[in-house]
Amino acid sequence: MADENGNDHDPTPLRRPGEGVPPKPEGEKPSIAGDVAALAGGLKTTLSEFFKPVVTTMYPEEKTPRSERYRGRHYLRRYDNGLERCIGCELCAAACPVGCILVIAAENTDEKRVSPGERYAKTYEINMLRCIFCGYCEEACPVQAIVLGPEYELSDTSREKFIYTKEKLLEPLPPDVEARLNAKGTAVPTPAPLPNPPPQGGRETTP
């Protein structure tokens, strides 16, 4: 039976559970030969799979390739001169739809310089149990400090260990990912830290 669009529909109404199996159509008689033929047909399908290429990946010994844009665990990046990129602006935390990022900022001093500029993140924590790996933090970051790396095997043995602290997040990215990020031209060049002493209230312009 075809409708006006030419699609076939099974006229049999859908059954809800418990409505019972409909009776067999009349006129069909049980036959042993028919049953054996059906069994053989099924076995043929099974046996033919032996000779097809194997698609199973032997995880965890073997791993499927990840997309370049795969969003796994987070990393905080550093500039080439070792200063942290993160400026503690909290835009990642503001963009985060689940509120799993905590940033507490502090001011750089000449004695203790953590990042270029005035501000750095004193505390940076991500609750990985809450994170949904949407990547909005990466998109919001004005200095490309936070990126989502390729690792996805994040299971651990206690809830506390899922609060990733700054030390953990500052671990170096896998070299291929870092190279790719730099090659894409998305990385801002390493800025000079504030001159020491800073210019004294005069008119100075950038070169």
Partner: protein, 629 residues
Amino acid sequence: MPDVKMVNVTIDGHVVTVPDGTLVVEAAKLVGIEIPVFCYHHKLDPVGACRMCLVEISPGPPVAQAGCIRPVADGMVVKTQSAMAVQARADILEFELVNHPLDCPVCDKGGECPLQDFTFRHGYPTSRIDGPRLHFQKPIPLSPNIALDRERCVLCYRCTRYYDEVAWEQELTVAERGVHSVIASQFDQPLTSNFSGNIIDLCPVGALTSRLWRFESRPWDLHHTPSVCSKCAVGCNVTLWQRRGQLVRVTSRENDDIDEGWICDRGRFDYTDVNDPARLRVPAVHGSKTTWAVALNTVADGIKGKGSKLGISLPQDLTNEEAFLFRRLLDGPLRGAKVKMHGRTALPAPSGEQLMIKDIDDARVIIIVASDTENDVPIVNLRVKKAVSKRGAKLIVIHPDAVDLDRHRETVHIRNQPGEAAAEVRKLADHELLHEPGGPVAILYGDGRGSEDAAGLVAACTELAAKVGAKLMPLYRGTNERGSLELGVAGWDSLDGVEALLSWGPPPTAGVPASVKFHAVWDHLPRPEHQNASVVLPATSFAERQGSYTNLEGRVQFLRPAVDAEAPLKESWDVLCELAAALGLPLDYVGIFPIQREAAKAFPALAALAQPPSPEPEPVPVLMGPARP
């Protein structure tokens, strides 16, 4: 009040009727149309410096005109959304951003910045500027509390105009001229004014920021609570900002009846004790930590039945509810105890009709007797300055020393010998200024910080007020001095010779008397005076306390907790109720509201306590576009 002519103006198709002389930006606010402004501020005189408010006005020349300096006229038609006006504002914003560092991610103003908002709403979506930008040292410390970032400054002059017009200070100025102009403190000296913090609120960009709040949080992290300042008797309205259980910022909350949006630096910056890691949190008896029940029973045993051998030292910021409970205790188990309230004046409770703070605006002559208003009642001092410089009031000051109000050239300063202010007040009855017609006279009197005979001074002021038809305002110093006076607990007794002492708040300023054998303290910070205390109870700070204050004009205002008083901290009323129970006076209040209702019933001056607090005014909706046809 003379009749003001009303005029009809059409703004983007909305017809609005406003008094003649209203500025176009103010008229537009009434119909909810936003005209962006940087230099214009409704409490400052308009200057038209930034040109952000350009609109098309007809009849008039076919150019965009500044709406902040243009008063309305009958039949005026204002278009804020005409192509010319829209482009003119976008062009001005492009100019503002030529040298702006665009460091919004690290700027403390980011998130509550008019420059950011206006750029989104009125500016071009992209920038054409790729050249070099101006660079300055950043930040420049203007004072221990304020940082200046000249790169972000848009030169609206709000800060310098505020200093000049409102605070009558000369510390902040514009250095250099023309394109070289920068905001600078006078001779690069740190700002010392008690009113400097207001420039942080005034600054429409991130050029002036608080150094105490610097990088503490972004504005959207914060929870804010409308509350009342607890530092002096004026009762300025403030907003307390909390993040992660820490009080991180205090800003003004405009109440035209009291503060007009200004607060002093004490109210704005004196809050770090709330977050002190050394805060007392657990009761201690003889230095060892214990439970509330044990500690309060020890206190009760130590002070019970001492009669006049018991001294009670009260802080100036005692809430009305605490005062009411002390009243019940003093009428009951602690009858006869000596009570001393610290930081208060010697002035008695007021009688008769009093001057309200907002009435100072309309005064023709203002007489200030024996009070250093700048430090004792700072925001009343600003109200006096406004009346003098903007409303043309005449000012007579009776004070032995130079005061900041002398900076006005027409101030009449009568320097009395300390203790003889009353005599000078009596002489004033024949003063020529008081016999000119036009407007009421306001008499504000203090107690000269104890140098004057308060009773004699009040009598002299009352006499003068009756002669010249003036209204009186007592300038109390203690935050809730007036409320405590009305409840009868603002004692002035000497604590010498007492055997037991209950210090509610910091210990007596004069030191604990040597005769004290049992000393119980309720305080929020550890202090050296607590070394020999028998019992130390942890107290809530002003940011955790619930209650109310009566300000110096008799207005009851509510203190709301911005930070949770987490156990084992207890609310002050709870501590007092349990102490009363331990003393044998069962006060089974289940919360602060029954206390407020009962206090309102017992004391007419506190009737406002039984009223639910007035709801916050609804924000005016911002209509952005022109009216629909």
